[in-house]
Amino acid sequence: MSVYFYITVLVLYGAATLLYLLYIVLPHDTVGRISRWVLATGFVCHCTFTFFRYLEAGHTPITNLHESLSFFSLTIVAVFLGFQHRYRAVILGSFVTPLALLVMLVSAIFPSVIVPLNPALKSGWLGFHTITAFAGYAAFAIAFCAGIMYLLQEHFLKNKKLGALYHRLPSLEVLDDINYRCLTIGFPLLTLAIISGAIWAESAWGAYWSWDPKETWSLITWFVYAALLHGRLTTGWRGSRAAILAIVGFCVLLFTFLGVNLLLPGLHSYR
């Protein structure tokens, strides 16, 4: 059953991506509206899919790479839909939907079979830890897109190359504001994920912190974003600096999420 929803989600996200990309060349309100509806429909299917997985597995369906990538994509779309509503920046979708689609496609590579949950992981913390982590990741993913958009727009303005994309992109201030907003959403969530992970680790593995690669890299990621937030609030790191750090932070985050699981052996290497 859930596999049909999965395919529908892939198709709808694919269609939404094409529509959002079309919006760059054809910036009509109608195109923007249709894109949003297609994406929102895909999102609803995605929620349904996740719910079915939950029923089939009997626990929060974020235990292997297939499931967690799919959930990552779901949270990216959720956060984006919220942002689009608030900032009315349709063009943000032209950058975010390809990312959500890509994450979804990568999830399709990994086997989707439901494996019985490792007894060590049977805990109420599973849902809280994974959902806060991925909601935080999603906010940082949006910040990453806004960062790329900021650097593009800044490049256009500095070099006086005012082409079609320049006209479509929002103002620097709006992009910087999106970046900041994502940071204020993502950082507390990431913090909560790390803390809840530590508490859970104590009950599952007997120690709060065991310098497992996942834990180490999560801490590095946390420090990157903490530095960005600190710089922003005290010395006014804004604009291109904030944009670059949001991009760097997201790359580190991706390594924490994927690199650690695939490359570094450890307690967190779920495939």
Partner: protein
């Protein structure tokens, strides 16, 4: 009925002549009355702007109508006809309709896509409606022109980008800062260009204006105009950090803002972006300033380049707009030609005749035992009723003849009896969307 356009514009006449022919909006009633009292002019309106003086009129006799309006234009301003005539153009039929659609859509303007002309044509139509010099045809015609202009404005990017240096600067500022309402503009020097640009920023809604001028008094006067404050020129660097947008147009012969100083200011602003606009020649701001973080510098040439780009883009969009105009002309011509007496009478008759035949056929089918003789009588009876009913309206239509009211009658008839608006012989461009053509009020 025919639509004619007579007039002159920046394409055909120099400013000296255009200003002599211009009509004063406050005294437009008299010329409008004179215009519609010309023997062959049924309806008329006058568009008078700094770039064009045009009469849009409705006439039965194209040649006579155009000639009369030409003479009227010269005579009303007491100018010799021979001086004015060579600069006047006269269009009729399809060309007249195209011309007015293009004017209203700003395709005929000096700066293609400028927004003012539509408002000016609307005002001209407003006067004509107020003084009743426009009637059914011009009403429908102008409303159609407005809807074409609106369509072009929304469907093409003809008016979407700035085409003056000052506007280009405001647009750039919006791309950097988003909203300008909480931003401060600092005007350095009180040159004419700087003043103009500052005015644009004020009307775009900037929060605050500072003026730093070498003569403090002049700076104060200017600041007063913008509702801002003057600051002493020598204290410039004490105030620079307050400004988000810096407009510089001093007569200085060397750079007054150099990277080192600006970098200090930016640090003091905690890296909040600054937009420098250098419209002075020779330049006031070292171009190296542009490479500082979160600093954007545009000089006159840069802004000119932006404007050129936008103009080029407008020209491309104008081609799309011309296609829209061409598509809309056919519809209007179809409606116009439906306002002819003979085809309307024919349509009305065939409408009634159709009803008579249909009803007669129904009766004959259910009434089987009629003799041929009786059938003939029924036929004659129904025909007589239809003819009698239509006799008076037909005569009235034929007799009202040339007057303005015929069009009203024809239009009413066609609406009341839902007669077809198909173009009559001679029109090869059928209406593509009847609805559109009919409900422009």
């Amino acid at each position: 009925m025919n639509i004619i356009v007579v007039g002159l514009s920046h394409h055909s006449a120099p400013i000296e002549l255009r200003e002599k022919l211009a009509f004063n909006a406050n005294r437009i009633e008299e010329p409008l009355r004179e215009l519609v009292s010309l023997p062959d002019i049924a309806e008329g309106l006058i568009v008078s702007t700094c770039n064009r003086v045009e009469v849009y009129a409705v006439t039965r006799d194209i040649a006579a109508g155009i000639a009369q309006v030409k003479r009227f234009l010269a005579a009303f301003h007491s100018l010799p006809f021979d001086v004015v005539e060579p600069h006047l153009y006269g269009y009729h039929g399809e060309n007249a309709i195209r011309h007015v659609f293009r004017v209203a859509s700003s395709l005929d303007s000096l700066v293609v896509g400028e927004a003012q002309i539509l408002g000016q044509v609307k005002a001209a139509y407003g006067y004509a409606a107020e003084y009743k010099s426009s009637g059914l045809i011009l009403n429908r015609f102008l409303h159609k022109a407005f809807s074409v202009a609106k369509r072009i404005r929304t469907e093409t990017g003809i008016a979407s980008s700035a085409v003056s240096v000052a506007f280009a600067a405001v647009e750039l500022a919006k791309k950097i800062f988003g909203s300008l309402s909480d931003k401060t503009v600092l005007l350095i020097g009180a040159g004419e260009m700087g003043e103009l640009a500052a005015k644009h920023f004020v009307s775009a809604g900037v929060g605050d204006v500072l003026v730093a001028n070498r003569t403090f008094e002049r700076g104060e006067r200017l600041a007063g105009e913008f509702g801002g404050r003057a600051v002493p020129f020598d204290d410039l660097f004490d105030h620079l950090h307050k400004a988000d947008i810096v407009l510089s147009s001093t007569g200085a012969s060397h750079f007054i803002l150099v990277p080192k100083k600006v970098a200090e200011v930016i640090r003091r602003r905690k890296l909040r972006p600054m937009f420098f606009i250098d419209i002075a020649v020779p330049r006031d701001i070292d171009p190296e300033v542009n490479s500082l973080e979160n600093v954007y510098l545009y000089n006159t040439d840069d802004l000119q380049g932006v404007v050129e780009n936008n103009l080029e883009q407008r020209r491309r969009e104008a081609e799309k707009a011309e296609e829209i105009v061409d598509g809309e002309i056919g519809q209007f011509l179809a409606w116009l030609s439906s306002l002819e007496v003979v085809p309307t009478i024919i349509a009305l008759r065939s409408h009634f005749e159709g009803i008579r035949r249909a009803e007669l056929a129904k009766t004959l089918a259910s009434w089987k035992d009629l003799t041929p003789e009786e059938e003939k009588r029924l036929e004659a009876l129904t025909s007589a009723i239809v003819n009698k009913l239509l006799h008076v309206p037909t005569n009235v239509l034929k007799q009202t003849g040339q007057g303005n009211r015929t069009d009203l009658y024809l239009d009413a008839l066609r609406n009341l009896f839902a007669l077809s608006t198909e173009p009559v012989a001679g029109q090869d461009d059928p209406p593509q969307d009847e609805d559109e053509g009919w409900k422009s009020e």
